[in-house]
């Protein structure tokens, strides 16, 4: 296992497809939530997944992160199939993840949240002795420094501002040196300025480390500013794929999506 | 808050006790009895028990006590848990320095205290626990028991049951040791007395949780000639009511343990069964001088009639006083020697703690239930001396490994 992990963590070059999704499909009681979707994300780039409510974004996302098992199709990470794996196995393959509603451990400090992920990554979780607080302290602080949270390392997650929580989540998601980062509505519930800051930070880290980023987003400003390319889902079908500019001009997209009035803002 | 103050007081009094303990001469103060019982868990029996006990205590102390010393009782509630009873026993012996232990309602509580007594070489007079193991299988030098045991009660009833024409018997008993051994002895002794009987159904409802309708139906389905019942308390009331409505008892003989005791008969009121053969206590009708004296004193003190529990409490205290008087000492070994073969006065007449197995020969009343003035009562009763309902000595020696 450790050999595999070592190999899989070889630095990816920009341009390599890190994530390849082929013909992914999922139905719920006869309704095709996701219907034969294919796309790929390259290392160091940010791909936005957009679509109106009920388009199948969340279903699609949950098939990538392991929460849902696809009916059909395959998901390749660095050329290895991860289709139908459990979330923790997907994580071990090198996928980091943030949640739409921030998910942190409230009984731990900011640093401990990151340390927890580092402990898991190092395979030390079954150790019943030795203080967890003393493990990977420097590495945790380094990650927190990257997201600008190191000053708040000793604070409880329960009392942080929402934007800061998002940053902590980002640091946690980076703890396993992921090749791919999945971010579900990363800026939901944030003030406009915070949104731009967080996504700029993400883009910067992604580019520096060669991480592929796939994110869903409602805010079109964020999408058009921070994505290298955009895919659009509608009723389970992939209806457009291209740069932000291309998608913006796509008449199909305008018809089903932009025309619906949801040009910016949340839900 | 309470703890703080209490533990503080505890430490303070500890220091106070530690120093003068040598000075406190043995035998100067009152004789102390540590009485452990399930007062809160089994109040129906044990409230009268305590009243009977306190009556005897008052009489003894009013007469000057024993050996010129008053007797004092420290009551402890075990809440029905043997482990708490053991804790109280340790506390009573070590902290309160009681001279002997007594009490016990549930069999497992009695056995736990008996084992404690054996381990700590302290006298234990078990008043109520009926389990045969208290004096037989787990019997030991330091444990004596007052009440007629499960075996004895079953033997008294078998004598009557064997006279009945019934061949097919159904049995119902609460599902714990008392119920199980009641049924076991009844079957064994009845089979011996009357080899052609057969047992067609057995029901073991959980204690206090009888599903009376379904239980009655299950017994009815086996179409027995007669029924042997060991349930008591609320189980009995529910069983009787459902049985009456559903006609289970019509045309059938019923033989029933303890049902004639006021504790269990009185709550049934006018619905008390009629014609059941039972062991019990016809308190209003016993006119022996000992009993009349006891009953009058009890009524005078509590403005209430005595229950069987009152008799057990009264007799236990009196037997302890008799033992103390005979031993002339509170030394445990001397008390044990005194108790072996001790004759003591009881509300039912004189009885004796047998030397061979430490079981007292206190008996029980066997008779038939009836309803008089809207209340259950016993008729055609006779007193059965416990001495006559015990196995012969050779058998007892086999049953009691402790010797």
């Amino acid at each position: 296992m450790s050999v595999v992990l070592q190999q899989s963590r070889a630095p990816a070059m920009a341009g390599d497809p890190v994530l390849v999704v082929r013909d992914l499909a999922k139905s719920f009681g006869g309704v095709r939530a996701v219907d034969g979707v294919s796309f790929s994300v390259e290392a160091g780039t940010m791909l936005a997944l957009i679509g109106p409510n009920g388009a199948g974004k969340t279903t699609c996302f949950n098939m990538l992160n392991g929460q849902l098992r696809p009916d059909k199709g395959e998901v390749l990470l660095g050329g290895r199939p991860i289709t139908g794996m459990k979330p923790r196995a997907v994580w071990r393959m090198g996928v980091g993840r943030t949640f739409q509603i921030t998910a942190t451990f409230t009984s731990m400090t900011v640093r401990e949240n990151v340390q927890m992920a580092l402990i898991s990554h190092a395979g030390e979780i079954w150790s019943p002795f030795g203080r967890a607080r003393d493990r990977h302290k420097a590495a945790a602080d380094a990650l927190l420094a990257q997201v600008g949270m190191v000053e708040q390392a000793e604070r409880a997650c329960g009392v942080l501002a929402y934007g800061d929580l998002k940053r902590v989540e980002l640091a946690v998601a980076l703890a396993n040196q992921p090749k791919l980062l999945l971010m579900d509505e990363p800026t939901a519930g944030m003030a406009p300025r915070e949104r731009i800051e967080l996504m700029a930070l993400t883009a910067e880290i992604a580019a520096a480390k060669g991480i592929a980023v796939l994110f869903t987003e409602h805010d079109m400003d964020v999408v058009f500013t921070h994505s290298d390319s955009v895919i659009v889902l509608d009723r389970g079908l992939l209806i457009a794929h291209g740069t932000a500019e291309e998608v913006r001009r796509d008449p199909n997209v305008r018809a089903v999506y932009l025309g619906s009035g949801a040009t910016s803002g949340g839900h | 808050m309470t703890i703080d103050r209490r533990s503080f007081l505890g430490v303070a009094s500890m220091a106070a006790i530690a120093a003068p303990s040598l000075v406190r001469a043995q035998g100067a103060g009152p004789i102390k009895v540590g009485e452990i019982n399930s007062y809160t868990a089994q109040p129906a029996f044990l409230k009268p028990y305590r009243q009977g006990w306190e009556l005897a205590l008052e009489q003894i102390n009013a007469a000057g006590g024993v050996m010129g010393r008053k007797i004092e009782t420290i009551f402890r509630d075990d809440g029905g848990k043997p482990e708490d009873a053991v804790r109280h026993a340790g506390d009573l012996v070590n902290a309160e320095k009681v001279d002997l232990l007594s009490g016990g309602f549930l069999s497992n509580v009695g056995l736990a205290i008996a084992d404690f007594a054996k381990q700590n070489k302290k006298l234990y007079v078990a008043s109520e626990p009926l389990s045969d193991a208290v004096v037989w299988a787990n019997g030991n030098r330091y444990t004596f028991r007052l009440r007629p045991s499960t075996y004895m009660q079953a033997a008294m009833l078998v004598e009557e049951a064997a006279k009945l024409p019934a061949k097919k018997w159904a049995l119902v008993a609460p599902n714990y040791e008392y119920g199980q051994s009641g049924v076991r002895w009844f079957k064994e002794l009845l089979k011996k007395a009357k080899p052609d009987v057969e047992f067609v159904a057995e029901q073991f409802p959980a204690l206090g949780r009888i599903d009376a309708g379904a239980t009655v139906q299950a017994l009815e389905a086996s179409k027995p000639d007669a029924i042997f019942n060991v349930t008591f308390g609320a189980d009995l009331s529910n069983f009787v009511r459902q049985g009456n409505t559903r006609g289970l008892f019509e045309g059938r003989s019923v033989v029933s343990m303890l049902t004639g005791e006021p504790e269990y008969l009185d709550p049934l009121g006018a619905e008390a069964p009629v014609g059941w053969i039972v062991t019990g206590y016809p308190h209003a009708d016993i006119q022996t001088p000992e009993h009349v004296k006891f009953r009058d004193a009890y009524k005078a003190k509590y403005n209430d009639y005595p229950r069987l529990g009152s008799v057990v409490g009264f007799d236990t205290m009196n037997s302890i006083a008799a033992a103390l008087a005979k031993a002339g000492s509170t030394d445990t070994e001397k008390l044990v020697d005194a108790l072996e073969g001790l004759k003591f006065p009881s509300a039912f007449g004189s009885a004796e703690y047998r030397a061979i197995d430490h079981q007292s020969t206190l008996g029980a009343y066997v008779g038939k239930t009836a309803v008089k003035d809207g209340k259950g009562t016993m008729v055609d009763w006779t007193y059965r001396d416990g001495a006559k309902y015990l196995p012969d000595d050779a058998e007892v020696k086999k049953l009691r490994p402790a010797g």
């Binding site: 979330p87 923790r88 994580w91 998910a103 942190t104 451990f105 409230t106 009984s107 731990m108 401990e112 992920a117 402990i119 898991s120 030390e124 079954w126 019943p128 002795f129 030795g130 203080r131 967890a132 409880a156 329960g158 946690v172 703890a175 396993n176 | 703890i3 209490r6 500890m14 007062y39 809160t40 129906a44 009551f75 482990e83 053991v86 109280h88 340790g90 506390d91 012996v93 070590n94 902290a95 736990a112 084992d115 404690f116 714990y176 040791e177 199980q180 409802p205 959980a206 599903d211 009376a212 309708g213 379904a214 139906q217 609320a234 009331s237 009511r241 559903r246 009185d266 709550p267 049934l268």
Partner: protein, 631 residues
Amino acid sequence: MIDLILTQTLNGLASASSLFLVASGLSIIFGVTRIVNFAHGSLYMLGAYLAWTLVSYLGPADTFGFWGGVLLAALLVGLAGVLIEVLILRRIYQAPELFQLLATFGVVLMLQDLALATWGPEDKLGPRAPGFKSFVILFDNRFPTYELFLIAVGPLVLGLLWFLFQKTRWGTLVRAATQDREMVGALGVNQRLLFTSVFAFGSMLAGLGGALQLPREAVNLHMDLAMISEAFVVVVVGGLGSVTGAYLAAVLIGILHAFGILIFPKITLVLVFLVMAVVLVVKPYGLMGRAPVGHARGHGPAEPLLLPADRLTKLAGLLALALLALTPIFAPDYLLSTLTELIIFALFAASLHFMMGPGGMASFGHAAYFGLGAYGAALAVKWLGAPMEPALVFAPFLAGIAGVVFGWFCVRLSGVYLAMLTLAFAQIAWATAFQWVELTGGDNGILGVWPSAWASSKTAYFYLTLGVCAVSIVALRLTIFSPLGYGLRAARDNPLRAEAIGLDVMRIQWVAFIVAAFAAGIAGALFAFSKGSVFPTYMAIPRSVDALLMVLLGGVQTVSGPIIGAFAYAGLSEQLMKATMYWRFGLGLSIVLLVILFPRGLVGGSLLLVERWCRRPEAAATARLAAEGGR
């Protein structure tokens, strides 16, 4: 034969009715307020006693007197519910999950003694119901008409409840609150009034259930506890918050009882728990229950920060240990045996806390492992002739193995469902000890489990206990702050996030379950040798409840809480039991007062006070959370 089957079915349906009334009230209360109302059985008992008094007063033979008395009794119990809600529960809705259970248990204790003082110790056999005194012939058997009436009451009440919930505004609110509490708050509904009315309504149903038993069952002081465990089973088997589910489950259990009597007359008591175990393994949310929306532990405040002990706290701990170690020099024997017991309970409580606090898995059946440890020791002594030392080593493994098996099933569930499954397993273990007379001696237990000669003095055994328990408690503590303990807390705080950073949540919880069982087994084995005997009561429900109370009283969110809680609770009940025959009332009242004064537990509450006193510069909220979590 067919006659018998039909009659037993009717018998089952008749007993199902009262069970359903009580259980539906419990279910509705839980659905809206998330309170596990331990006092619900007591309200049922109160209903029966009140009905007895009122019916006797109003005239039992008179139709109006009887039914008026029954309904009035139910209303009065509803009023008692209002009192309990307004005086006690309302003050502690913000306390951690299950904390309210502690308060309701205090009410149980108080009502037991109040009933004893008011109605005396003798059972009360109520009058028969006017118009339903006799029987009809059904399937060649006499069948009481009152039982037929009861059979009709169940569906009737179910129908009324359905109407109430579907057709009235209040019912709609109740349904909405059951599904999503925050939403109701957001809708601007008067939440206080809603909670009070729901509690009153649920109480009234329990009171009615008790009052209707009057013609059927002698009213007695054991009705409360006899009913409560079964009502819980019905609620859980039916699915929390589902009234229809409660009816189905009540019928299922009533009928199983009736037939169980025919087939296995000796195991009727455990049968219901076997059924519950099977149902929960197959359907984790009961027959009609649905998986909770979103976060499984969504209600109650978020888990506060947990910090390792600071120097001062450590020093205090060491000091306490040193003081305990010195006790034998000045303390007499009896104090030593009491302390020995308290120390054992501290380990027992700490073991439960390990899975309940950091693990977030509340157990209603932790006594199973305590008892199995005790039986492990006793069986080794009795059957293998083992001396104390190997018996002490062997015993926890018996508990640990049970933890492996039971835990495997339990960690698949969460919340109250998990707790109830642990209860089911504990009852199965209890029934085994109770029924397997050849091996365990049944309820007479195993006697003669005394320590080896070197440890037989009170002082020696005290040191043995202190040594083993101190090492075990410190080991548990170290584990809480180890990577494994952090993983456990991660799994509790946010299982989704934990899985997303590669943690195998279920396996971590399973390991914690086993560790807790093993540690409880150590406590049980020590307890066996300190008492010299072992009984099924060691793993009966009251002992599980004791452990739960100790942990909650100390404060579930603190690490030293269970130890303080054990000393406080066991010490308090021991002193009260000695001091008064009405110790249950005293203990209940103390619990209720402590709960109101320290809604975070004794340790959590004291830390909060200290922290407020000091006024740290950090924002008040942080200070509060840190204080509550710490040490």
